[in-house]
């Protein structure tokens, strides 16, 4: 009976009974978070202000009138001050703490860089530290799960344990996982890992200066970033070319080289571009996963007319060429207020979501129909469970794995699709960085020494998309060991939006 008494305890009391492991874990987590508190709050503020901006412009468009600007102004003011507070918070791994921008005097010493290191090494150090921090943080989260399993979970085994075990031996999936993490890290920590900031190097180049040592005047001179960029642009044979892993004449280090016009740092461009790609990809896949998952459960549970109408709608959408639909959206909404949000990113994401859900729905429809036929769904009905709860409790857990697999595989497709649109000169407007536009601007120089402008983003896209597919494969094999070897995900593999 004593055993019953202990198993009776709710989670809170189990924690109270044995608080040591949990406290230890929370303590270390707190330290890890404190290291980056500034970055975390600024990301949070950015997200919130992005959302608020979207809401405000939507409200302005819908309501109009004089009421909205005042509210919008108030929100805007609050957010701006929040952003200031966030900027004031210290972040260990930031450009301020480990600066990589400086100038070299003729005696060979560097001024302004971290510990007087060469900018190359200062930057590299920051990059490595940022990724080390990220992996350490994730590893600590994983440790947290292990602590929970060992000390606080009742069940000595759950079906999830087997999935985790299978994923731990799945090398291809792990490769995908690491690639995806590197990509996500690039997007999340873009301000910290790029050699310079987007604001300085892309958006407001005329407002910032760089200091450099001028050999002619034998003194430290100052030049606007705008002019420095124009001088250090890579324009192929016969002119200046700053290739990968080179310094320009202003002692700025460019890990990926510079772009053609107006000579921005390619790595900075890529890091901030990863944010856009990831954000659009996640929103688009999020929209299509929600639509596909919801519809698949509704159609499998109710069948009949509901099923037929969804088949009809999805067939109609699939019968349109996706890329044409996207071009149409871009053309029609060019001057609409929706286009303002995130330089057209939100609208594109929604359009991708609408284009992608029928494929995703078709992929999970089969599994959904299968689950709906299980007797436990009938059992739930027999004791009067509500249909929505039945779908959530008894069907969704079985579909989630499929949605995750197909979602991660289609994400690569969305990234390619957006890059494709930008490559065509549509999609995300300049100056917002986007990988596809880098390829576009660099295509004239592919055969010249400035080959890096097109090639590096192109290769990165291939690696990232492969990584998402590999992750999807890994999840699939972990969730459903019987499918190993079969090509269940073939249909969802990135088809690239046709571009």
């Amino acid at each position: 009976m004593s055993e019953t008494a202990t198993t009776e305890l709710p989670f809170r009391e189990r924690l109270r009974e044995n608080p040591r492991p949990a406290l230890l874990w929370v303590g270390v987590l707190g330290v890890l978070l404190a290291l980056e508190i500034g970055a975390i709050t600024s990301v949070a503020v950015t997200v919130v202000s992005g959302l608020a901006g979207a809401v405000a412009s939507a409200a302005a468009a819908v309501l109009g009138g004089p009421v909205v600007p005042s509210i919008g102004g108030a929100i805007d003011g609050a957010l701006t001050s929040a952003a200031h507070v966030a900027d004031g918070l210290p972040s260990l791994l930031s450009r301020d703490v480990i600066p990589n921008q400086g100038y070299q005097t003729p005696d060979g010493t560097w001024h302004g860089t971290f510990l007087g290191l060469e900018p190359k090494y200062a930057w590299l150090l920051r990059l490595v530290l940022v990724y080390a921090y990220m992996f350490a943080f994730l590893w600590w989260c994983w440790r947290g799960y292990r602590v929970y399993v060992r000390h606080y979970r009742f069940a000595d085994w759950t079906p999830r344990d087997d999935m985790v075990d299978r994923l731990r031996t799945h090398r291809w999936g792990q490769f995908g996982f690491v690639v995806v993490l590197l990509f996500v890290g690039m997007a999340l920590f873009a301000p910290a890992i790029s050699p310079t900031s987007a604001d300085q190097n892309i958006y407001h180049t005329s407002q910032y200066d760089v200091q450099y040592y001028d050999a002619d005047t034998e003194s430290v001179e100052t030049i606007a970033v705008l002019d420095a960029n124009l001088d250090s642009a890579s324009r192929g044979a016969g002119t200046t070319n700053i290739g990968p892993w080179q310094y320009d004449q202003y002692d700025r280090f460019h890990p990926f080289g510079t772009m053609s016009n107006p000579g921005q740092d390619l790595f900075t461009f890529m890091a901030y571009g990863a944010r856009i790609s990831l954000a659009i990809g996640l929103i688009a896949i999020g929209v299509s996963v929600v639509l596909a998952g919801g519809f698949s459960m509704l159609t499998a549970y109710y069948k009949g007319l509901v099923d037929l109408s969804v088949v009809f709608v999805s067939d109609s959408i699939q019968s349109l060429p996706g890329i044409l639909l996207l071009l149409l959206v871009v053309a029609v909404f060019q001057s609409h207020w929706l286009w303002e949000i995130y330089n057209g990113g939100l609208l594109l994401a929604l359009a991708f979501g609408v284009v992608y859900w029928p494929g995703l729905w078709r992929a999970v429809r089969g599994p959904a129909l299968q689950v709906a036929e299980q007797e436990w769904v009938d059992a739930a009905k027999s004791y009067g469970q509500r249909s929505v709860t039945t779908m959530r409790k008894h069907m969704l857990p079985y579909l989630l794995s499929y949605l995750l697999i197909y979602g991660s595989m289609s994400l690569g497709g969305v990234i390619i699709g957006i890059a494709g649109l930008s490559f065509l000169g549509l999609g995300i407007d300049p100056p917002t960085p986007e990988w596809g536009r880098a390829i576009n601007t660099g295509q004239d120089y592919v055969t010249t020494p400035a080959w890096h402008i097109s090639l590096i983003p192109g290769i990165l896209i291939v690696i990232v998309v492969t990584g998402f597919n590999a992750l999807g494969d890994g999840i699939r094999d972990a969730m459903d060991p019987e499918s190993e070897g079969e090509d269940a995900g073939a249909g969802a593999t990135a088809s690239g939006g046709g571009a």
Binding site: E8, A155, W376, D378, A380, S382, Y383, G384
Partner: protein, 542 residues
């Protein structure tokens, strides 16, 4: 109370718990094309007394599972009514239906599929309790002075004698009684009363959270079905088939139902485990006074556990009555054939095995008249053909059966188009069919080259050489019609000529014994011979 007395009391219970009248459940899988619905249950009447176990047996696809599912409202009845305690439940919907569902539960056949493998056993058994907000804390107040009573705090007032909490109001203090099904101590309930003139207000507070009570209830259920409390946090994967079925049983009992449909609860289990689960079901019935509908195709299991048995064929109940009596002395031809399939350990037994021809007809297109008429070994024959030999009669029946099946199949669009274009006239091989039907032995042996080279006319002549002249002319006419492409006409001709009351009229349920046994067969009418002697004479012939 001894077993016999129990049975006695069950029979004398005048009021049935479940009463089914003219129940029909059709599946309309044809969709928009408006084809024939599948008549899974096609007009069924029976009743189940409180505390009784009614067995439901039949071949696969006879509609027994559909009938069970319709009783617990998992399928919507097409027609007819299901009276539960005198109330028609087929018309219930919404919250009424949900409330009623507490009373009727189902145990599924496949324990693999009936438990959600992503949930722990505890969560699975607990879910019905969560759905119905169990325990609802219905409170009955027992006031000797019969004042008007109102309740404040936890619980809802009820007049039901099955109340969760009963409060007896005394002069100075109150005594509290908690129903046995709720794992809560009386001391957990705090009661106080305020009297105001002719009315009394009882304020009641329960000191235990519902979720704790539910967990305790699940533990209790786990013990009741022979599992251990520690199994609460295990997953279905970690159990054997028998244990999983116990979990399914625990879940169906969670809401304390009165009526449980057991849909082949032991069919998927090992034989050694079957007995244990059956014993458990019997114990639970005794403990909780449950009423069972036990669906099975294993006749020995049914004989072991059921008080009464209903035999189902093609959506109809062919015979229903006391188990032992029905097994000893089946009256309906179908029951007779079915029971003859049970291997008899006694080597000196006289009963011979009846082998039924073919497979049951499609429930989408059941035969006219008696559903068993296409396979019945003792079908009533028209008077003029009563004396023709078995083999010929078998041949006629088979030919009719083949034509019937072809009629159903030949609705394909291609087939119809072909016929319209005159490309194909149905069967080119009718002579082969006639040969096979009337001379099965010769067809089985190697046909000589000479025979194969014979003209169709000659082969037909040879095939029908043993057939009496009266029959022969009709068969020949039918063959001619078929060759001309008019199969339905040919079928009509055979039915008109060789058919009887079995094809023309639906039988009625005739009472066949004093205990209220009923059988669905024309042969119980006074003008025909009873099935059993006819069977005996047939079997003697062979």
């Amino acid at each position: 109370m001894s077993e016999e007395l129990l049975t006695e009391s069950r029979q004398t219970t005048a009021e049935p718990l479940v009463e089914v009248n003219g129940l029909k459940t059709y599946y309309d899988t044809g969709g928009m094309l408006g084809s024939q619905p599948v008549k899974a249950v096609d007009g069924v009447d029976f009743s189940i007394a409180r505390g009784e176990t009614l067995g439901l047996v039949g071949e696969s696809g006879c509609g027994k599972t559909t009938l069970g599912r319709t009783l617990v409202q998992l399928e919507t009845a097409t027609d007819g009514e299901v009276l539960f305690d005198g109330r028609d439940v087929t018309t219930l919907s919404g919250s009424e239906l949900k409330k009623w569902r507490r009373n009727a539960q189902i145990v599924f056949q496949d324990p693999e599929s009936s438990l959600n493998s992503r949930m722990t056993v505890g969560e699975i058994i607990r879910e019905p309790l969560d759905v119905h907000g169990w325990p609802n804390f219905t409170v009955a107040v027992d006031d000797p002075q019969d004042r008007s009573v109102s309740l404040s705090g936890d619980g809802t007032l009820t007049d039901d004698d099955q109340a969760d909490i009963t409060v007896a109001v005394g002069d100075d203090d109150q005594t509290v009684a908690v129903r046995e099904g709720i794992p809560m101590d009386e001391s957990a309930v705090k009661v106080s009363t305020t009297e105001r003139g002719s009315s009394v207000t009882v304020s009641l507070s329960v000191g235990v959270s519902k979720s704790r009570l539910r967990r305790a209830r699940v533990r209790e259920l786990l013990k009741t079905v022979g599992l251990q409390e520690e199994h609460y946090y295990r997953y279905p994967h970690q159990f054997s088939g028998g244990q999983r079925q116990r979990v399914g049983i625990a879940r169906s009992l969670a809401l304390e139902p009165e009526f449980v449909v057991l849909d082949e609860p032991v069919s998927a289990l090992d034989v050694s485990v079957q007995a244990k689960v059956l014993n458990l079901l019997e114990d639970l019935q005794e403990q909780f006074g449950l009423t069972y509908l036990f669906i099975a195709h294993d006749l020995s299991v049914v004989r072991h556990i059921c008080d009464r048995v209903a035999v189902m064929y093609l959506g109809h109940i062919m015979e229903i009555g006391e188990t032992e009596e029905l097994f000893q002395n089946p009256k309906n031809p179908y029951t007779y054939s079915l029971l003859s399939a049970i291997p008899d350990p006694d080597p000196e037994t006289t009963r011979e095995r009846v082998t039924l021809r073919g497979t049951p007809p499609s429930p989408r297109n059941p035969p006219s008249g008696c559903p068993f008429s296409t396979r019945c070994p003792v079908k009533i024959r028209p008077t003029e053909y009563r004396d023709i030999d078995e083999q010929t009669w078998e041949g006629i029946e088979l030919l009719g059966d083949i034509l019937r099946n072809r009629e159903q199949q030949s609705v394909g669009v291609r087939e119809r188009a072909k016929r319209l274009l005159g490309l194909e006239t149905g069967f080119d091989d009718i002579v082969d069919v006639v040969e096979e039907v009337f001379m099965p032995e010769t067809v089985e042996t190697e046909q000589s080259a000479a025979e194969r080279s014979m003209a169709d006319d000659e082969r037909l002549e040879a095939a029908l050489s043993d057939v009496p002249a009266t029959v022969k002319t009709h068969i020949e006419t039918a063959v001619e019609l078929i060759e001309a492409g008019d199969e339905s006409q040919a079928h009509q001709l055979l039915t008109d000529e060789f058919g009887s009351v079995c094809e023309h009229e639906s039988p009625e349920h005739h009472p066949v014994s004093d205990t209220g046994r009923a059988s669905y067969c024309h042969r119980h009418r006074s003008e025909y011979d009873e099935p059993e002697p006819v069977f005996d004479s047939h079997l003697d012939h062979d």
